[in-house]
């Protein structure tokens, strides 16, 4: 197939499907129903590292997790979730919450939307136990 046909078809196909999915409301980030759901999401990534404490964000989109191995976060990846420890993390407060930079090529930046009180409180919890 000539590139002059293939290229526009691929570009329009990708853009069209992405716009359609968004208009169908399929861009909403995952929400944790409760702390138990956040705990399950953590254990899905680190099945041997049982959390000792789970702090759910006010909007229920993220959770701070404390484990004997150190603190971590669970956060949405689209409609799903992933989790990471905070080893080597640089934590910055932003207008909408926190931006965490990790020395991890597979999760270089975590953007957490938190209310102002959480955004002030969480870095202390993250730092204290590292």
């Amino acid at each position: 197939m000539p590139l002059s046909i293939l290229l526009p078809m691929v570009v329009l196909g990708i853009a069209g499907i992405a716009v359609l999915l968004h208009l169908l409301g399929l861009s909403k980030p995952a929400t944790f129903q409760d702390e138990a759901a956040a705990r399950r999401a953590w254990l899905r990534e680190f099945p041997e590292d049982t959390p000792t404490r789970v702090i759910l964000s006010q909007d229920r989109h993220a959770a701070l997790v404390e484990t004997p191995q150190g603190p971590g976060v669970v956060w949405p990846m689209g409609a799903d979730t992933t989790a990471r420890y905070l080893d080597g993390a640089q934590i910055k407060q932003t207008e909408t919450g926190l931006r965490i930079t990790l020395p991890d090529y597979t999760a270089p930046r975590i953007t957490l939307t938190l209310d102002p009180e959480e955004a002030r409180h969480w870095p202390g919890l993250m730092e204290a136990r590292r």
Binding site: G13, L21, G78, A79
Partner: protein, 312 residues
């Protein structure tokens, strides 16, 4: 000897069909509220990975094709172009696919290329298009060499490989549960391939087939989908980014960082490239075997059930 032989570029011609089937699957899921899940960023990442795969084939395809034509120039065999030869080529190329795919899960160097196909936590038709950008660097073209040397023309081998990829597109769906028993017995199906995409301990390193599931049954890697255990899709450690560059290259970066660690022997450095994913020189990481063994330690009742055979 047949030097000038051309077949249609079937994968590119299938692109509009892929787009149409994605729209049909999406419509089905939205209307019926079952049969799978779609999410914008995940699907967009998969589609961009697919486009990048086509681009890398255009840019780097000459490497494999040149290698195949060099083999074709030296082989004294030419099986011709009859329909029966094409069918035989398709079957043997599917056997080739099984082994390349198995190497892709058991050799980290090859996994580095293949891992992105498993990096979605979704399983829908866009996942099928989440293909590698770095396949050329795995040197798995070598596994096709016997076919060329046996007298199958390189254009025919690549044509059959294209048909194989097209077949595998439609099996990336949750909208189809099970197909007739005779079909499930012989062919790779959505059910069998869902298992392959599972991160559950039970489903790791299973069902490598492309078109015919018989290869897994012959070589002991077949695990049937269990009604009692829903497939959990994605990687053992899921990615925290949708950036296609990071999706495409993250395991290569991981290999590089492991290999340049100070204080390792050369054997350790080599092993970080060729041992199964999860291997580490100090045993601090988990391979699929250790994940399965740890699962059995917690759930001894699963011993000798599908996916946990031959583990003590």
């Amino acid at each position: 000897m047949t030097d000038q032989l051309t077949y249609p570029d079937v994968v590119n011609f299938a692109v509009p069909v892929f787009i149409a089937l994605i729209l049909i699957e999406l419509t089905w899921i939205v209307l019926k509220r079952r049969g799978g899940r779609y999410e914008t960023y995940d699907a967009l990442t998969s589609l961009v990975m697919g486009a990048g795969n086509v681009a890398s084939s255009i840019l780097l395809g000459f490497v494999a094709y040149g290698f195949f034509m060099a083999l074709w120039a030296i082989t004294p065999l030419d099986l011709g172009t009859s329909v029966w030869v094409v069918i035989l080529c398709f079957v043997l190329d599917d056997l080739r696919y099984y082994w390349v795919h198995r190497f892709g899960h058991r050799i980290r160097w090859v996994w580095a290329s293949h891992v992105n196909h498993h990096s979605s936590q979704h399983y829908n038709l866009t996942t099928a298009l989440r293909q590698t950008w770095t396949g050329t660097f795995t040197f798995m073209m070598l596994v096709r060499a016997p076919l060329i040397l046996l007298g199958f023309h390189p254009a025919m081998v690549l044509f059959c490989g294209g048909l194989n990829l097209i077949y595998q597109f439609w099996i990336h769906t949750e909208a189809i549960t099970r197909l007739p028993r005779w079909f499930e017995a012989v062919m790779n199906t959505p059910s069998h391939h869902r298992v392959h995409h599972g991160r559950n301990a039970r489903y790791l390193d299973a069902n490598y087939a492309g078109v015919f599931i018989i290869w897994d049954k012959m070589f002991g890697t077949f695990v049937p989908e269990q009604d009692s255990e829903k497939v959990d899709y994605g990687l053992v450690r899921n990615l925290g980014t949708f950036n296609p560059i990071r999706v495409a290259f993250h395991e290569w970066v991981g290999i590089f960082r492991d290999v340049i660690q100070p204080g390792l022997t050369w054997r350790d450095r080599l092993n970080y490239c060729i041992q199964p994913p999860g291997w580490s020189h100090d045993g601090s990481r988990d391979t699929s075997e250790t994940i399965k063994r740890k699962h059995l330690a917690k759930h001894p009742e699963d011993a000798n059930t599908p996916g946990f055979e031959n583990l003590t």
